[in-house]
Amino acid sequence: MAGTLFDDRLFAHGPAPCPTCRQTLRKAAFSAQTFEDLSVEKEVRIRRQMAQKFNKRREDFKNLKDYNDYLETVEDLINEIDVETTKQAIEKFAAENRDLIRINADRLLNESRMATFRQEQLRKERQMKHEAYLRELEAEQAAKTEDRKQLIQELATSDKSAKTIMAARQAISLKKTSMRKTEVKPTAGSAPGSSTLYSDTFWRLQQQQDEDMDRQHEDEDMGEFDPVQSQYMDVDLGVGYFNSVNNNKAHAGGLQYPLMTSSMGVKDIYVEPVNFASLGRISKAGGYRAGFGYSRAIEDAHTSLYTPAL
């Protein structure tokens, strides 16, 4: 009886007030307990709810310090005692960053989709390999039995002596085994069509994961960490110094990149000088260098400058 108490009887007539504190309670507000420890359960529930709104990522911040500050504020909100102010702060944050939240939620959805898709692929691959192996075994068995049959038939029907027939067989079987050893076995993974199962987006995700790993590594070995200063080292875009007319040699990448304040925003990656820190391993290997953005922009500025109008 107690097992179905909650399902059938308790809120059968809709929301009802609590006997002690008279607050209205709803059936939907209750959920099954997944952890033994109640405090853990509560904590997990709060965090899950917060994570729906506070889903900013490392990429959304200019430097590590800002990201960690953001994480700190989130933690403070989670552990805050005063319910009202917390609620207000959460609402304020959600309203301000609505777009970013949505974008990040989409990203997360995409990634989880990709992850499940990849798992499916792996599973399928493994299955195919297994099947291929079984098929091979079968084929071997069949070949063996066939061989025996043929041997018996030959012994029975031909005029040659048994010894010569056996010797010939031996030679053939030796050749076969040596060939099998040298032959390169194609694996099930390279079966035709399996490589095209991976879409472009999958490779992009792979690349992004690689880049995330790279960034993690780079953040870890930042070197030159001054424990006294306790300031995070920035890996910023080249806000360097500019040329003065007396000093014509610019530092490579030392040109200042404009702040994006225009009405429509320019952001054209062809001419954006990308900082090395955010360059993926793959871009660098492809030969891209930070200075290309500058040279392309300056070239574009001076082509056909003196071409008269028609």
């Binding site: 500058y294 922009a297 001076h302 109008a309 028609l310």
Partner: protein, 407 residues
């Protein structure tokens, strides 16, 4: 460090292979060479001494921009543009008028009313058409800003629309439909692809259906002659921003100047400047105007870059400066730079609906008649070709055989 322009045959790596133009060192980032070598407007060298001291006529290789379709096919003069537009306008009006006469006669034959057919007053003038187009171009800007797409994508969409309406008038194809198709196409060509379902979901209120956008797509492509790559002044403007850092002493002010220059370029998209001048010229003019507005010394940069020698200074005064000045004039005086009032646009739109060509309206008698005659022509052609299918002709065949038998 003064870098001499490559008048010899030393190879210059990098994109520009012109004999004129900047001597770009291998793109490793020695920007100093880039900034100090200026285009002093030297004319390309035609005759070069080869190794065995014979003089060989060498044609200057065009730089990359001069091989582009924008340079080769989409440059006009101011007068050429207005002539083209007014001629097209007149032709279309004449065609529509004859069609209206036909429709009138058809209807009176069948005893239907002729009241809703437009009279002469309702046709659009060239200026009104341009105003309507300007209204829709600004719509493009709004929508692309909502999608947070960069300026060059917006500029591409506007450019497609401009080029389309150099070949057609607004009376034949309504600017709103063309605007949607141009936006969809620009999203594709500038690598911000959005599926037609998502696109239509956002713009449901403006479009009739997703198919109507797709139906116009090939037509738009054909009318811009499949020249999808468009060069905008944004990249050159950034290049000048970098270049001006060579002689600046106030980088914050230069940032502001750059910002204002970008806004000027945004305004220039609504004018015909892209057909008259090169993107780098428009960018430099924008920077010049912005320098004036922010009281930043442009002449210092001009002297450093363009007037380093006597000949160069002369060339600057004669060739480049007039261009900059005339761009300045256009941006100040062209009425298309200012906002188009919604009331004005809707008024023009209303009249546009009234002066629709009957030959394109599927409801009109003229359209139906023309379609019928077309189909009849097709049927006639069909009869000549497939004799086997037609029953009557089978009989003819049997008659023929009979005849042969009798012979």
């Amino acid at each position: 460090m003064d870098v001499e322009l490559s008048n010899s045959s030393t190879p210059t790596s990098g994109l520009t292979q012109a004999m004129q133009g900047t001597a770009i060192s291998n793109g490793q980032g020695t920007e100093s060479e880039n900034t100090s070598a200026g285009t002093n407007g030297d004319t390309p060298v035609d005759v070069v001494k080869t190794e065995d001291e014979t003089e060989v006529k060498k044609t200057a290789l065009k730089n990359l921009y001069e091989q582009s379709t924008q340079y080769n096919h989409w440059r006009f003069t101011q007068s050429g543009l207005s002539e083209r537009r007014s001629k097209m306008n007149q032709e279309v009006i004449a065609a529509i008028q004859t069609n209206i006469q036909e429709e009138r006669s058809l209807r009176s034959q069948q005893g239907l009313s002729v009241d809703d057919l437009p009279t002469d007053l309702n046709f659009l003038t060239v200026d009104e058409e341009l105003a309507l187009l300007g209204f829709y171009e600004r719509k493009i800007v709004q929508i692309f800003r909502f999608w947070k797409l960069p300026s060059y994508a917006t500029a591409t969409a506007i450019a497609y629309m401009k080029r389309f309406f150099l070949e057609n008038t607004a009376m034949d194809y309504h600017p709103k439909d063309v605007m949607l198709t141009c936006m969809f196409l620009a999203r594709k060509t500038e690598n911000f692809l959005m599926s037609i379902e998502d696109f239509f979901a956002v713009l449901k209120s403006s479009a009739n259906s997703a198919e109507s956008i797709l139906n116009l797509e090939f037509l738009v492509c054909k009318n811009i002659r499949f020249h999808f790559t468009i060069h905008h002044p944004y990249r050159p403007c950034l290049g000048f921003f970098y270049d001006m850092q060579a002689v600046t002493d106030n980088i914050e002010k230069l940032q502001k100047v750059y910002d204002v220059a970008l806004k000027m370029i945004d305004t220039s998209l609504y004018t015909d400047l892209c057909f008259l001048y090169q993107p780098s010229q428009i960018a430099l003019a924008a920077m010049r105007i912005a320098c004036r507005e922010e009281s930043y010394d442009f002449e210092r940069y001009a002297a450093y870059k363009f007037k380093s020698t006597e000949a160069a200074a002369k060339s600057y005064e004669e060739v480049l400066l007039p261009i900059l000045v005339s761009i300045d004039q256009i941006l100040k005086q062209d009425p298309r730079c200012s906002e188009v009032e919604k009331a004005v646009a809707s008024d023009i739109d209303r009249r546009l609906k009234l002066c629709k060509d009957p030959a394109r309206d599927p409801e009109s008698l003229l359209f139906k008649q023309r379609k019928r005659t077309e189909q009849e022509e097709d049927d006639d052609d069909d009869d000549d070709d497939d004799d086997d299918k037609n029953e009557d002709n089978g009989r003819a065949k049997r008659q023929k055989i009979k005849k042969e038998d009798s012979l």
